[in-house]
């Protein structure tokens, strides 16, 4: 790892945050913000606004969410949730992944206001304006809580980076062409071109194809 050179970046960013006299706990964060329209995360006791996303990000998100939701529902595997669901990282930290899947065996961790343990799968869509350090921080958080499968879909580089938990470590797979499967959702397989090229195939037809082969 030390042989891979780092990128030194001067991060100059404007962000909106909410400061109080002491760190805000995840519980307090949920009480204060779950009913509000603000799109925020909790980082080290400070509530931070998430940046707005672009159209490309949202289009891919909705396509994926629809497909995953229908597939998981049809196969009675668990629940798929989108980018307004808070996931507890620790007492002073909470994230809102773009997409997450919780298998039915772990449904007790899914509560009204948040998910209180590691989802089996988290998917994050990386946009061109996402900062590298922020993406690394996301990975650190999801690995810390032990998410079994973490997927970063980079729309600019057109890569799918999959991290799968193996004991205490994670094994990485980077896919740029062909198909990739989601280990945590048996039978779910996507072509990378569906992810990165528009127009994307119809969700219902894609679902039918997946259910036929599963």
């Amino acid at each position: 790892m030390a042989a891979t050179l780092p990128v030194r970046e001067k991060v100059t960013a404007k962000r909106v945050q909410w400061i109080s006299a002491g760190p805000i706990s995840f519980e307090e964060f949920l009480e204060l913000f779950s009913a509000k329209e603000d799109y925020v995360e909790l980082l080290d006791g400070v509530v931070v606004e998430k940046p707005m996303v672009q159209l490309e990000h949202e289009k891919l998100l909705i396509w994926l969410l629809t497909l995953l939701h229908l597939y998981v529902k049809k196969r009675h595997l668990g629940i798929v949730l989108g980018s307004r669901t808070a996931v507890e990282i620790n007492q002073f930290r909470g994230r809102l992944p773009d997409l997450l899947f919780v298998p039915k065996e772990q449904m007790e961790s899914v509560q009204q206001k948040a998910v209180f343990s590691a989802p089996a799968l988290v998917i994050e869509l990386i946009s061109p304006n996402d900062r590298r350090a922020d993406i690394v921080a996301l990975e650190a958080d999801y690995r810390t809580i032990g998410v079994a499968e973490i997927v970063f879909i980079d729309q600019r580089k057109r890569t799918v980076r999959l991290l799968r938990k193996r004991g205490a470590k994670y094994v990485e797979e980077i896919v740029t062409t062909g198909a990739f499967t989601l280990e945590t959702i048996p039978g779910f397989r996507l072509e990378t071109q569906w992810v990165f090229k528009e127009p994307r195939p119809d969700e219902i037809e894609t679902l039918a194809g997946l259910l036929n082969q599963a």
Binding site: A2, P6, E9
Partner: protein
């Protein structure tokens, strides 16, 4: 529960060294980079401090160090010592103290457990979000006593561990007793008003009190 919150738009500048994936604390130690911390798998440069910060730090460090040495109660370390917070996080507190009974957490390259006492000196240019992060980190590893010395506001914010929670006290005058350093106490004004009393005089007074 903090009820008062202020919404602020901040413009933050940080210099970070980012690898393709999060750097672990073990990897961070191998780098042997100076004046940096590990935050969420990225190496973050620490801002330089001002003269007032350093003067207070040196005074406190000297005093605590001499006292702990005389009492043989533990070890005092300064701001070049890494403390592991988690797999992807490591901090360099301004000052830390480890009691003798807990020396097992101390290794050549870093501290691998919660110091008994951590002191951070807050400078005027320190960001509230960074301070919050420090507090969260030290609480998460279970540091018994965390002191934030705010030079601008001239106050001490003391956090002491009580079972799984922390009790907070804010002091602007009077005496500050150190729970984790038996018999050690300071007048608040010595911290924030110069010239400070000579270290040797304070030390003599502290050591002459009955234990």
């Amino acid at each position: 529960m903090p009820m008062t919150m202020t919404e602020e738009k901040v413009w933050e500048e940080t210099v970070k060294w980012v690898w393709p994936r999060p750097l672990t604390f073990a990897e961070f130690l191998e780098l042997e980079k100076d004046n940096v911390e590990l935050v969420d798998g990225a190496v973050v440069e620490r801002p330089m401090v001002q003269l007032d910060h350093e003067k207070l730090l040196v005074w406190l460090l000297t005093l605590l160090n001499q006292y702990a040495e005389d009492k043989n109660s533990g070890i005092v370390l300064g701001s070049r010592m890494a403390v592991e917070i988690s797999q992807f996080r490591g901090r360099m507190p301004d000052l830390l103290f480890i009691q003798r009974e807990h020396f097992d957490i101390l290794q050549q390259k870093a501290v691998f457990g919660a110091p008994d006492l951590i002191i951070e000196i807050i400078s005027p240019n320190d960001r509230p979000s960074d301070l919050s992060a420090l507090e969260v980190d030290y609480r998460s590893i279970g540091t018994h006593e965390i002191l934030f010395l705010d030079q601008k506001k001239r106050r001490v914010r003391a956090l002491r561990r009580r079972d799984t929670d922390y009790e907070e006290a804010t002091l602007t005058a009077g005496t500050l007793d150190f729970e984790t350093v038996e018999g050690f106490h300071l007048e608040i004004e010595w911290l924030f008003v110069e010239p400070r009393p000579l270290v040797r005089d304070v030390l003599a007074r502290l050591l002459s009190q009955p234990s």
